[in-house]
Structure formats: C-alpha cells, structure tokens
C-alpha cells in the first residue's frame, strides 16, 4: 500500500500539495510521527474514552475492540481519569451546565498530551462530538465553561478531535489493509449492519451519509462477510424509552429485525450498547409479543472484526451476548476448532 507521509515540519506548500494529492488519489495521509512509530513496530497511540456501559454490560464490545485495534496497530490508551460523557447531548440553549461533563473529558485528553480521542459507543461519540462542536463555534460558551471549571489545571482550547473507531479504521488503517489482515474470512455469514441514529445524525456530526451510509458495509465486506441491505438500518430503535416504555421499543426493534430477516440476514451488526440492548436483550419481550419471531444474533462490529482477524475467540466474550451467536458461527465453521 502506498502511504503519503505528512511531515509536521515540512514546507507549508509541500504539505498543502500533499493534501491535495491525497484527496485526488484517496490515499491515506499518515502523519510523519506515526510513520516513524510504524517503522519501529510501535503502534499508533490514541486516547480512548470508554464510557460507562463499555465497562459493564458491553464488555464484549470493549474487549473485542481493544484486541482488534491492537492487532491492526492501534493502541487505544484509556484516559487515566474520565467521567460520564454527559449523555444525552443537551438540546436547550440555556443549560450550559450540561456541557461540563463532555468538555471535562476533553480536558483529560489534553492532559494526556493528545489531541484526538476515540470512542466506541455511538452515544458517547455523539455527545462528545456535539459538545466539542458547540464550544469550537462559540468562544463565549467555551470561556464560560472554562470559568466554571476554574479548578482544572488545563483550560480547554477546543483543539481535541473526537473520533469514532470506525473512522480510524476507514481513514487511517483502510479497509483494504484490513482485508489483507483477515485470517478467517467470514464467508457465507449474512450480516445486516444497523446504524441507528447517533452515528449519523444530525448530519453535521455524523460519520457517514445520513441516508445511505456505507462505512459498516465496507468494513464487513473487508472481513469477507456477506452484507445484507434493508430499509430499516437507520431507523431509531427507541433508545432510552427502553426504561419506561418497553412496548414502544419492542415494537420498533421487531420492525427493524423483521426487515433485516426478510432480506435474508442471519445476524445484525452494530456499534451502540443501547441499540445493542434494545435489539438483543429485548428479543425476550419481542418473542412474548410476536409469536412468529425467531431470535437473531446481534454483534458489535468489533466482535466480527476480531474473529476475522483470527484473534482468540475469548476476546469476543460471546457469552455476554443475549442471543447466543455461537451456534450460528459454528454452523458457518467460523468458531469451534476449524
């Protein structure tokens, strides 16, 4: 693979023309320092914000993500201190106080001498990214927030970039590179990607085209899986209504799953522990309500990635999935002593 090396000390003109060239040729730009690391066999390091659920219910997401990233040369370094991302992003004009949590997390990134932070959970991603955007565009609000956090050693300057792991896989590793590293192609596994809301919407913070996204499809294709398209992949699962309005979530989850199943999907792949809960765990209630419904396994994209990269099945923690995906994987000879 051809890489473009972007030196941080080079002539501005050279840097600009490199960028232009990269845009024309769609070649990834690798910062010079990262290249040095790569040459030394050192991994690309990036600060990692896990968020609450990744440490508890979605341990299968975290473990498989860290292991996959590592095998692709990315070291996700967990922030030494972090707090709740502040979920959900505040939508009213006057409650700046709710932006404290996400911005404080971004201060932690700067404390770690990094200017990028990667997330896994779609909700954390959305909240951090929107809060960041808000203060980047409104200096007055940024100043006010810094004032409120006067006891922090570092003042936030709006310079941190919030990323989702999928973006790093696409833009910095590259799906072709991933395809080359695949040891166990997921041949014959029919998977339907599910994006939900917060990876894509609102469009100014989304990681892909809000109506016809392809990033999960492209990743899954590079692992050798067969990707199923269906119209509900960006429809909302009901989100936090799962706490007080289970019926609503059950209804929605059923529609989403049925749509994918009708198109031939054998499993769903997603990137959010809340969507995960609604589509996976709520299958219990779905079955109670809709007798025709048959369970379908729900994966985090990193679980399938880890599997295809030939990592130890243990990092996938399949035992934490509500609908056990192992029978399906076994039937495709993807696990179980192939």
């Amino acid at each position: 693979m051809l890489l473009l090396v972007l030196s941080s000390i080079g002539e501005k003109a050279v840097r600009n023309s490199t960028k232009e060239f990269a845009q024309l040729t769609h070649l990834p730009i690798i910062p010079f320092t990262h290249l040095l690391d790569l040459m030394k066999g050192v991994k690309m390091k990036i600060s990692y914000f896990p968020g609450c659920t990744l440490k508890t219910m979605a341990k299968n997401f975290e473990d498989s993500a860290l292991a996959s990233a590592s095998s692709l040369g990315i070291e996700m370094v967990e922030l030494q201190r972090w707090n709740c991302c502040g979920t959900v992003y505040s939508l009213t004009s006057d409650d700046l106080i709710h932006q404290l949590a996400p911005i404080r997390d971004l201060i932690r990134v700067e404390e770690q001498k990094d200017n990028r932070v990667v997330t896994l959970c779609s909700m954390c991603y959305n909240t951090l990214k929107r809060a960041n955007k808000l203060v980047q565009e409104d200096k007055e609000k940024l100043d006010k927030l810094n004032d409120l956090m006067y006891r922090e050693d570092v003042k936030y300057d709006g310079k941190v970039k919030v990323l989702h792991l999928l973006e790093i896989l696409k833009n910095e590793i590259g799906f072709e590179q991933i395809a080359r590293k695949v040891k166990i192609p997921l041949k014959g596994l029919k998977v339907a990607p599910y994006y939900g809301c917060l990876l894509l919407r609102p469009p100014e913070v989304g990681i892909d085209d809000p109506e016809n996204p392809t990033i999960l499809e492209n990743l899954l294709e590079s692992t050798g899986a067969e990707v199923i398209d269906y119209p509900y992949k960006t429809e909302c699962c009901g989100s936090y209504n799962t706490v007080a309005n289970v019926d609503l979530v059950v209804e929605r989850a059923y529609n989403i799953l049925r749509s994918a199943i009708n198109q031939g999907a054998e499993a769903i792949v997603l990137s959010c522990p809340l969507c995960g809960f609604n589509l996976d765990n709520r299958q219990k209630e779905i079955k109670e309500k809709f007798s025709d419904f048959k369970n379908i396994p729900i994966f985090y994209f990193t679980q399938l990635l880890a599997l295809s990269l030939g990592l130890d099945e243990k990092v996938c923690r399949f035992e934490l999935n509500f609908v056990d995906p192992r029978p399906l994987l076994e039937s495709k000879h993807l696990i179980g002593g192939v």
Partner: protein, 135 residues
C-alpha cells in the same frame, strides 16, 4: 368547537420561551409534514410532530404540554436531518419537555423505576432516560 385565535396566544410568552430554549424560529415551519412522515415514533404519539409545531404557532400551550408526543420523541434526529426548512424539531421537543420538567413535574420519577428494570437495562439507558424525563 371553535378555537379562538387572538394576539394573546399568537404572541404569547409561551411561544417566546419555546423559541428561546430551542433557538428555532417557529415561523420557519411551513407545515409540509415531512417530520411527521418520517418520525419512527409517530404510532405512539397522540399529536404528530408537525402538528405540535402548528399548535405552538397557534399558541396552544396546554394541548402541547399535555401531549404524549413530547415524551415519546426519542431525539433520533430523523426530522432534523430531513426538514427542508432546517427546523430543528428535536430541539423544539426538548424545549417543550424542559418547560414541563422545570415546573418540577417529572415525567418519570426516578424512584418509581422498578428494581428489576434498574438491574436489567444498561447505564447509558438509565442516564439518558433520567436526563430526558426528570428535572
């Protein structure tokens, strides 16, 4: 029933408050209904999203604040993505929820959530639900 419209409700404090909290121009909505057409929650709603905005335009404070709709809306941003006038409907829904919550009226009382649910659902669901449903 005849609904009376007068300057009292069309130029009300309520309308100003919604515009202030949401930072949206309520009059930008030309009632095309695209938000309602795509809203995944509409089957659970008693008033459709575009009608909510219409009612705000008409100053129908009571009706809007007593609707189920504002609580069913899950901030999925489907409407926000597609509205041809760039109206952030999700922010308007949030403003309406906040107007109620700030009167110290919780939609979901944290203490009323069953222990079983608490242990079952992911944290992220609890945190966001409480952020949306309680003051």
């Amino acid at each position: 029933m005849r609904a009376e419209i007068s300057i009292k409700n069309t130029k009300s404090k309520f309308l100003d408050k919604v515009e202030e909290l949401s930072e949206q121009n309520i009059y930008a909505c030309y009632q095309c209904g695209k938000c309602s057409a795509g809203c995944p929650s509409i089957s659970e709603m008693d008033i459709s999203p575009s009608e909510i905005i219409r009612l705000v335009q008409l100053g129908g404070e009571e009706e809007v604040l007593n609707s189920k709709t504002i609580w069913v809306c899950a901030s999925c941003f489907t409407c926000v993505t597609r509205c041809p006038k760039g109206v952030d409907v999700a922010k308007i829904m949030e403003a309406l929820r906040q107007i109620t919550l700030r009167k110290n009226v919780d939609y979901v009382n944290p203490l009323s959530i069953p222990r079983e649910t608490l242990s079952q659902v992911p944290q992220i669901a609890l945190v966001s639900a409480l952020r949306k449903f309680s003051g």
